[in-house]
């Protein structure tokens, strides 16, 4: 049973974390696939939590971030949105900068 505290712990424990549909090797949704493609290009280790692993993950996640859809992307404990916002931030260089800062500290 996942609670908001478990989401917080996962977010704090992983410098780059994606909650999505499916796994790193087998994303089950185009948007999750895109979020993973962005994370891969950042050149740092990242984790993917499959929301289908447990049916309590999704409601806990949605109330934690106040964001109704997945994937959800977190960097250094900060919520950076879904695949659209992650991709936009990646294209502007903002995301790489944030990731480099998080891994330097």
């Amino acid at each position: 049973m996942w609670t908001k505290d478990d989401i917080q712990k996962a977010v704090s424990d992983n410098k780059i974390l994606i909650f999505g549909k499916g796994t790193k090797d087998q994303p089950m949704c185009g948007f999750t696939h895109r979020a993973i493609a962005v994370a891969t290009q950042l050149g740092k280790p990242f984790e993917v939590i499959n929301i289908f692993d447990d049916e309590s993950i999704r409601p806990a996640l949605v109330s934690f971030s106040d964001w109704p859809t997945t994937p959800q992307f977190f960097v250094g404990g900060e919520f950076i949105g879904g695949s659209d916002t992650a991709l936009e931030m990646f294209e502007s260089g903002e995301l790489q900068q944030k990731v480099d800062q998080v891994f330097a500290s």
């Binding site: 949704c29 185009g30 948007f31 106040d66 964001w67 109704p68 859809t69 919520f79 950076i80 949105g81 879904g82 659209d84 916002t85 936009e88 931030m89």
Partner: protein, 76 residues
């Protein structure tokens, strides 16, 4: 089932002075791409801007709409 016109109307009535361009990505009325311009986005973070679009779509976002790709723009 929502048409692109329905999605456009929901967004434009939910966000002040918004203009929305809506595309049906799959032809199945459940995967949309929306580009929304509104002066109300001024000074807000990208996350907050997307949340405004989520709110305008309301429950549709987690029911009839399977996926929506969002781009927000502050008009010049």
């Amino acid at each position: 089932m929502l048409s692109t016109e329905d999605v456009k109307r929901l967004i434009e009535s939910g966000i002040p002075d918004a203009t929305a361009r809506v595309e049906d990505l799959t032809g199945t009325s459940d995967h949309f791409a929306v580009t929304v311009a509104s002066p109300a986005f001024q000074g807000k973070t990208r996350i907050e801007q997307h949340k405004m679009v989520h709110r305008a779509l309301g429950d549709h976002l987690t029911t009839t709409i399977h996926a929506v790709q969002i781009k927000t723009v502050v008009p010049d």
